[in-house]
Symmetry: C2
Subunit: 118 residues, 2 copies
Amino acid sequence: MTTSENTTSLCSGNVCPCQEKCPLSAALEIIGGKWKIPILCSLYNDGPTRYNALRKKIKGVTNTMLASSLKELEADGLILRTQYNEMPLRVEYELTKNTNRLIPILGSLSAWGKEIKN
Amino acid sequence: MTTSENTTSLCSGNVCPCQEKCPLSAALEIIGGKWKIPILCSLYNDGPTRYNALRKKIKGVTNTMLASSLKELEADGLILRTQYNEMPLRVEYELTKNTNRLIPILGSLSAWGKEIKN
DNA sequence: CTGGATCCAGAGGGATACTG
DNA sequence: CAGTATCCCTCTGGATCCAG
């Protein structure tokens, strides 16, 4: 009676296309937006980084967008914010383990993006 | 002299974060937007599908968005449009091999999206 | 140094009506 | 049946200035 197992379903498993929020669309929204990937790439390449250092490394980003993107990434559990109450104030951002599990997937996506450009 | 190989770089390999369009951002733009994933999911689940059938399966999509999304997906080589000059006109859309290589990656992303929701 | 507040332009997306 | 055309609106993202 039940449908045979569908282990490769991209969405909720039964109702596609993504009527209710499917995890795939959810994931894409989390890493969507103009600056999320550059931020994650930078933190992945360089490790814990200060706010101003990020702003310099990510060409073209403004305070507004960097701050709001960092806040969203933190709220979604993708980055960790550590504040050191020194003088002057120091704040560092770094990837979480959630994000480390995401990295190879992004790597595959990147490779796929490279291939289809031919 | 050359930097040691960096096979895990998400971007171009040397200049991160994504100053010039990196393949990762490019890939995300191709599958971005509100309706691309639902379209791909639907075609993946059901195979070749007619325009009006797609419109019924994808809840909430309008003619404007469905037509423009299909056009973009076709231009990016993710779907194939086949027109049968019958009466009435019949047009079917289906995934290409490029997209079939993308599917497992999206599956991983979906699984990741499910995990971090806890 | 690390952001927040405000204002604004442009793109993405929706509703409706119409066409080959 | 398979889309276009048109209008409109929201929302993202940019510029600038300000604050703890």
